[in-house]
């Protein structure tokens, strides 16, 4: 029995190794921007430290099991009564405490890195994109450029992008794994996510928070390109796309899946984001007129 099980374990190991080797790198460990890189580095560091801890526990366990098995001892052996030893306990508390202190420092550092604009691009003006979710799509508004897209976003590479997140409906979570971790989009406040790409390419993103029946397909694409190409795209949109009217936007908010679409103008003009103070943002704005805009749209 036992040998078979061991065989099975070996098979599993071999299989997972094959799967891992045969595949492209996992998205989270294949960062394409500074924020995602902070997180990927943390993850890899954690894997080593945590792996070491697991190995120590395994080693002690196996040692104890081999050494102190009843079948290896004389029948009249009587185990002693041991209360504990201050040194052993100090080590068992001390080492975890040291690890936790180290990780805490690392965690605080990474928090500030991830929450702020990437250091490399901190001196440039960020590109602001309002990303709002509705069941089950993403709306991207470029207030500066005066354009709006559905289910895809173009961004310039090597520039900090400030995504302003909110939702027309349940809580969603905006996530582009290769550019950085996710953040919630809620109906009553705006959250900010700093992302940047340091290469050109297409990156897949999704709503990672369960928000109802259509959530599985609530995905989008972020494409990073050179600043020139980006400017060109903006110009092209202004020449070719239709303006976003209030009726059209209302229609877009209806639950359902849509492909990509592109408009000139943004919904921010007639339906501003809920950017007032909820007690924890630095804005001092208590103007509740934004709320009304919200309610109109959520009433269907």
């Amino acid at each position: 029995m036992k040998l078979n099980i061991k065989g099975a374990f070996l098979a599993i190991l071999a299989m997972s190794a094959a799967v891992l080797v045969g595949c492209e790198p996992l998205l989270v460990l294949d960062p394409k921007g500074p924020q995602a890189e902070v997180q990927a580095n943390d993850t890899i560091m954690l894997m080593y430290i945590m792996g070491a801890i697991v190995l120590v526990v395994f080693a002690i366990l196996i040692f104890m099991l081999i050494k102190y098995r009843a079948s290896k001892q004389s029948p009249d052996y009587e185990p002693p009564h041991i209360h504990g030893h201050w040194l052993v306990e100090a080590i068992c508390i001390g080492i975890p405490v040291i690890i936790v202190i180290f990780l805490s420092v690392q965690s605080v550092k990474s928090n500030y890195l991830v929450e702020n604009a990437p250091e490399e691009y901190a001196d440039q003006e960020p590109l602001v994109i309002y990303a709002s979710s509705s069941n089950w799509k993403w709306h991207f508004s470029y207030p500066e450029q005066g354009i709006e897209t559905v289910n895809y976003a173009y961004i310039p590479a090597n520039r900090n992008v400030e995504f302003k997140l909110y939702s027309y409906g349940p809580i969603t979570s905006f996530w582009v794994p290769q550019l950085g971790g996710q953040k919630y989009a809620m109906s009553d406040m705006v959250t900010t996510l700093h992302l940047a790409a340091d290469v050109e390419g297409e990156f897949w993103g999704r709503n990672a928070n369960f928000s109802g029946a259509g959530v599985a397909e609530q995905t989008f694409e972020v494409t990073s390109m050179s600043q020139e190409k980006f400017d060109e795209w903006v110009k092209e949109v202004h020449e070719t796309a239709e303006p976003l009217s209030e009726e059209k936007f209302e229609e877009l908010l209806e639950p359902g899946h849509l492909g990509r679409s592109t408009y000139t103008g943004t919904h921010l003009e007639f339906a501003p984001a809920p950017e007032h103070n909820h007690g924890n943002s630095d804005a001092d704005d208590t103007d509740h007129s934004n709320h009304e805009g919200q309610e109109n749209h959520s009433s269907h």
Partner: protein, 652 residues
């Protein structure tokens, strides 16, 4: 017609119809069977009205096992749905209902009654008491819990299941996005069960503080009793939060209040905060008693005392306090800024220290021991490395910046199953196997038992390790399907196979019970494992009064029975006297039925019925307050006669 349409399941499917028929047939079979064998009277007088903590414990156990299989079937269905990309076995709505009920059933209606079974069955025996502090409240607590569980399960066939996840985040859980009565079931069924749990908490704190055998100081309490005390303290602090937040959610859904709505000042994250203020401590309510069980088992089969008893106790005390300081780690991504995240990141990681202390103490309990690999011990030995794996991935999740990448992914699903299955489920099954002879008078088969553990661990690894990988590859949780292009299909297939293997291990468990019931010898005495705790110092089967003479442990350690066996310490010093016992009562059951009625009526907004239910509840309380019930005495002669019988059977 409209009135009746509300009771229909809004998203019917072939599977649901089949289950409806099966449920109906089983129910009819049970009713017919009980009637045929004329067992209604027996059921009523021996079980439904019982105030005996052992019988109440067994009723919790049966509920837990029943729900384990209900939740397990849900799990298999989910894994089957995800086994291949673009699967259409379940549609999105159905998948949502299944993971929601799976989560609720597993946490609240499987794991909770399982630990409550151990509270009930073990705590009075371990502290040398005759019963719990409030035996009748205990009966009421069970029936409220049970009615809550049944009400929740009813949603499957009447009116529709909840579909907003076991966390039921608003505004998704509000009427505009969850349109069926499913989430009403969630709010009200959990409320009723939760009130029962709160009663359990109060009852066991009182029992442990007030009813310990003479000489049992706090630091002589067996480790499981310590873990129960702490868990019940957490219950009493955490469950009121659940009561309040569910009441607010109910009001939003039924009466149009705006606590968590979109607009009108509703705050959706308020639900999330309050939910996890209860929800995180809840996890420790489950895991601490599991730690207690493992401690009992590991000492018994290492033939040694527990290493670092004091640090074990203090680590639990510290964990219980810390458990209330970390709830925000469930939504680091809410946008509360680097400062708040840093604080909660650190408080979360701090919990790893006392938890690590416990792991090392178990490891050092093996040191210089004489390890016997019985089935309960095998569960424990598998628990240590598997739980460590789950623990370290928890530390990974606690790094808030990195958690932005793990949150809401299969990585998280892998993590919490990795702690909850080897932690809680293994402990419960290990404890069940360990105490089975004390409960039922025969042993479970060791060969089948050990094979079960190996099969379970194999299935577990296959089912959950792939999720760590797909999580890091971007597979979000709670997604009913994924496309071929994502490349998740191989690993999800492995995961499905693993889940299937786990299902086989649970079938082996049932088979073991059946096989052993048929074949195991019955002359095993009352201490078949050569165990150490006071709970083994009673007869098997345990008499209604537990101990004919209250044990005196002033000369013993926390392992009173072992001291008696090894050093000849005298436990039973007095002489047999008359024993006071509480009376059985049907009132708690009637009251709980009224709660069921009230709950059901509220779910469907049938206010007249609700008022009737409410009046019956009040009536029961009024009746009770005028009732005189001082219990009864078993005369000394009768106790002696019973004890003589045990001696004659040669079972000490």
């Amino acid at each position: 017609m409209e009135f009746f349409e509300r009771f229909m399941v809004p998203h019917p499917s072939f599977l649901i119809y089949v289950s409806m028929v099966l449920i109906a047939l089983t129910s009819i079979a049970i009713v017919v069977g009980i009637t045929y064998f004329k067992k209604w009277g027996y059921l009523w007088s021996e079980w439904i009205t019982t105030v005996d903590h052992k019988k109440i414990g067994i009723m919790y156990l049966l509920t837990a096992l029943l729900m384990l299989f209900r939740g397990g079937v849900d799990a298999i269905m989910m894994r089957l749905q995800l086994a291949v990309p673009d699967n259409t076995f379940l549609d999105a709505q159905h998948y949502n209902e299944i993971f929601t009920t799976h989560g609720v059933v597993m946490i609240l209606f499987m794991a909770m009654p399982f630990i409550t079974f151990f509270f009930n069955f073990l705590v009075p025996l371990q502290i040398g008491a005759r019963d719990v502090a409030f035996p009748r409240l205990n009966n009421l607590a069970f029936w409220l819990f049970f009615m809550g569980a049944m009400l929740f399960n009813l949603s499957f066939v009447v009116g529709g299941s909840p579909d907003a996840g076991w966390t039921s985040y608003f505004p998704l859980a509000n009427n505009e996005f969850s349109t069926s009565v499913g989430t009403n079931y969630y709010m009200i069924a959990i409320q009723i069960a939760g009130i029962g749990t709160l009663m359990t908490g109060i009852n066991f704190i009182t029992t442990i503080m007030k009813m310990r055998a003479p000489g049992m100081t706090l630091f002589k309490m067996p480790m499981f009793t310590w873990s129960s005390l702490i868990a019940n303290l957490i219950i009493v602090f955490a469950f009121p939060v659940l009561t309040v937040v569910l009441a607010m959610g109910t009001m939003d859904r039924l009466f149009g209040t705006q606590f968590f709505t979109i607009g009108n000042g509703g705050m959706d994250m308020l639900w999330a905060n309050l939910f996890w203020v209860w929800g995180h401590p809840e996890v420790y309510i489950l895991i601490l008693p599991a730690f207690g069980i493992f401690s009992e088992i590991i000492t018994t089969f290492s033939r040694r005392n527990l290493y670092g008893y004091n640090s074990m106790v203090w680590s639990m005390v510290i964990i219980s306090v810390f458990s209330f300081t970390v709830w925000t780690h469930h939504f680091f991504t809410m946008g509360q800024g680097a400062m708040t995240n840093s604080i909660f990141s650190i408080t979360t990681m701090l919990i790893a220290v006392p938890t690590g202390v416990k792991i090392f103490n178990w490891l050092f309990t093996l040191y210089k021991g004489k390890i016997e690999m019985t089935t309960p011990m095998l569960y424990t030995i598998h628990f240590i490395p598997l739980f460590t794996l789950g623990g370290v991935t928890g530390v990974m999740l606690a790094m808030s910046a990195a958690d932005y990448q793990y949150h809401n992914t299969m990585f998280l699903v892998a993590h919490f199953h990795n702690v909850i299955i080897p932690g809680v489920v293994y402990a419960m099954l290990a404890g069940l196997t360990f105490y089975w002879p004390k409960l039922f008078g025969f042993m479970l088969n060791e060969k089948i038992g050990k094979a079960t553990v190996w099969v379970m661990s194999t299935g577990f690894l296959l089912a959950f390790m792939p999720m760590y990988i797909t999580g890091l590859d971007g597979q979000a949780r709670r997604m009913s399907t994924y496309s071929e292009a994502t490349g998740y299909s191989t690993l999800n297939m492995v995961s499905f196979i693993g889940a299937g293997i786990m299902a086989i291990s649970f079938i082996m468990l049932v088979w073991n019970i059946w096989y052993s019931f048929k074949n195991s010898p019955r002359d095993i005495g009352s201490d078949p494992w050569n165990a150490r705790g006071l709970e083994w110092a009673t007869h098997t089967p345990i008499p209604a009064y537990n101990f004919a003479i209250t044990p005196d442990v002033s000369e013993s350690t926390s392992e009173a029975f072992w001291d008696m066996k090894k050093n000849g310490t005298k436990l039973f010093k007095g002489k047999i006297e008359k024993i006071h016992m509480p009376n059985y009562s049907g009132l708690p059951f009637i009251m709980s039925c009224a709660f069921f009625l009230l709950g059901f009526a509220m779910i469907f907004s049938m206010w007249i019925v609700a008022i009737i239910g409410f009046i019956v509840i009040l009536g029961c309380m009024v009746y009770r307050s005028f009732e005189k019930d001082e219990g009864y005495y078993i005369p000394a002669e009768e106790v002696e006669a019973i004890e003589k019988q045990y001696e004659k059977r040669g079972a000490k």
